[in-house]
Symmetry: C2
């Protein structure tokens, strides 16, 4: 068959040139401008992303084809247990070996494959010799059948005990992926250089200041950055990662899509699609920063900028309390770089109480208000029931862009 004689069109290599690590794809330098998730690939391609990351290998064929269609590559995730006991379980390990073998048979020659990623944040559950020895086992199987793609494992934070164990027990790993959020990103390189690992790194998840890193109200509600503050965080993050491209082969921003985690807006680079609020997955200001970082140009139309947001003239850090039955007022100040006419969508939710761990599922908190769209940058409301709530504002420019902010408050 002709296909077999065509030269394979997806050779990926890591080279060390002087003190500089470089990634090559088909003999051309390939810096990873990556996204975490694979929604909105049209926008990703238009804004200059060249790769995306998955956390598991479900529908890997479709996912790889879809990447190809958008001129992108894939860091293909292979789910691994975070429970140490599984690494002592021969059945679990046998299944995993079979799974890897199947993935290799089917996809090792897919031109969109960039890197194999064995596990995501295994270290949140175990850092045992058994776990990393088994990662080595799988990495060896991959290398035996596929010499064309680097093998990675992704960990949470640049923890030196973990990286040293990977170095010791899984020497076949070519590159380590680090998930790091804004509160810690600026010292990842420093931390990596303290370890025994002599290879390069990829920043495999990074984003705004994490909900575990921020100030909290007295009632323990984490205070979210406004979308402007997040955009500034991402800008600083890109500057840092690029400055250290001797060690970092690139990065994957989190999250190219939307999810509920403490709030519906914390980690998403887009807002949700929500008929109640008439939201259609609009683009946040953070994505403008990505466009600039990936292409050197800002998008033609940019997202609005929220410069201030208060409730009863107070800020989130003031531990805002209102009496039940008493009217309170939210006020937002926003500007639009394109001078688009702005509209304001307001929502009040109960503070999230069903909390996930490490990004696991959380339900959207109960909604107090519905579909309050306004041309006004002020919104007043009254609540008669005690409890912890959060006031959200979405500032829309009518051109598929949105700026977001929220303030936790207590009714008593």
């Amino acid at each position: 068959m002709e296909a077999k004689t065509k030269p394979f069109n997806g050779v990926v290599e890591i080279k060390k040139e002087g003190n500089q690590f470089n990634l090559y794809r088909n003999n051309k330098p390939y810096y990873i401008n990556g996204i975490g998730g694979f929604n909105n690939l049209d926008i990703a391609e238009e804004y200059g992303a060249n790769s995306f990351r998955t956390w598991n290998s479900k529908h890997a064929g479709q996912v790889l084809d879809s990447a190809s269609h958008h001129n992108m590559t894939v860091m293909l995730g292979i789910t691994m247990s975070k429970k140490d006991e599984d690494y002592h379980d021969d059945n679990y390990k046998k299944q995993k070996r079979l799974e890897i073998q199947e993935l290799l048979d089917q996809y090792k020659n897919h031109s969109s494959l960039l890197v194999w990623a064995i596990g995501n944040e295994i270290n949140l559950g175990t850092n045992s010799a058994e776990a990393w020895t088994f990662v080595e086992d799988l990495a060896s199987i991959i290398k035996e059948h596929d010499q064309n793609h680097p093998v990675c494992t992704v960990i949470a934070g640049a923890n030196s005990d973990v990286i040293n164990n990977i170095t010791k027990y899984a020497p076949t790993i070519n590159v380590i992926g680090i998930n790091s959020y804004a509160g810690a990103l600026h010292k990842v390189k420093e931390d990596c250089l303290k370890t025994n690992f002599e290879g390069p790194y990829i920043i495999t998840e990074w984003g705004p200041v994490g909900h575990w890193e921020v100030d909290k109200t007295r009632w323990n509600a984490p205070i979210e950055q406004t979308s402007l503050e997040k955009a500034e965080s991402y800008k600083k993050g890109f500057q840092y990662i690029k400055k250290h491209d001797d060690l970092f082969l690139g990065s994957y921003v989190f999250l190219w899509g939307q999810k509920e985690e403490r709030t519906p807006t914390w980690y998403g680079l887009f807002v949700e699609t929500n008929e109640d609020l008439d939201l259609k997955g609009e683009i946040c200001p953070t994505v403008d920063v990505m466009c600039y970082s990936w292409t050197g140009s800002w998008p033609k139309n940019q997202a609005p900028i929220i410069t201030n947001f208060t409730l009863n003239s107070k800020y989130a850090i003031d531990d805002i309390c209102v009496n039940k039955g008493e009217t309170f007022t939210g006020k937002v100040t926003a500007a639009d770089p394109d001078c688009d006419e702005l509209t304001y969508t307001w929502e009040i939710l109960k503070e999230a109480t069903k909390l996930g761990i490490g990004g696991s599922f959380e339900p959207r908190p109960a909604q107090i208000t519905k579909n309050i769209k306004s041309s006004q940058n002020e919104f007043s409301y009254t609540i008669n029931e005690e409890g912890a709530y959060r006031l959200y504002v979405y500032v829309l420019d009518g051109n598929n862009h949105v700026a977001t902010a929220n303030i936790p408050f207590l009714v008593k």
Copy 2:
């Protein structure tokens, strides 16, 4: 004379009510919304400031009258030596006692006087028993003749050794002034509470991240915040100081005016008046934040917002080098909340080499370009001489507002 029988119209007291310190002026609560410096008092009054601070008592009569004209009060500074030897010098001390006596005779009954401030950052030179004992000596003279105004001493940073010495040797001091910049402000209260001093504090100088606190280029050029980043710093600062108004009687922002310190733009809340650049002391975005903090409202017209500034598509932290004779390009992205038409003034200066210490005089660095005004947000130039330079941009809205940013770079 009638004046003598009129009740004195400027009684200032500190009261402790529960765990809360409050300042009262003529029996009314008086929270200090203060400025450091006394230029542009019209704007200060319009934007809601109610007090200003001086660093010495020159022309104290005019200064106090001017405050009265603008419905403001004065923290009147009394210059004190930072050299320990002076506190062992009877002549120096005799002169100071005379100076204090004269000030008391002339101004203790001026209705604009708010607080006496003995010294500014004495602790940068000495923390000796002799120095603070002499501060006590002067404080006692003041209290003997004037029971209507608190007495303060202002120090650099909330250093506990210093505050404990003040508590021990100068027990007549009613309130301590702390000068603190953005890198340290968020923990001033925590630091104060570790000391033996049982009175309240005023934040007597605070501003953007200091040039000693920021990242530097390889050639040691400190990287200045953009005016948007400074505005965000001030906003966080106001939030912090207000949140802790149990301990802080208010604050004085630095610097209500303009000065050269590393750059012409680092600390000023206004830009300079400079015919070469056609600058007329325009208002920076930081001042909009003050207006909001002092009055609860944003000014009618707001300053532009710089969202990005690069040189050859690189950021300051990239240690930008250009070859001599090679054309380089600066590019700024800005928005205006009022959609005013923006113009751009560009300037290249040599990097400052004649550096002051602790805010002392520095000359404006040598100018490479002159009067480059443009409607374009890009600017290209060529330099033929090796050295360290800095590219400045001033984004003007035509309504007395300006946004600023600069990038250090090396020509080699």
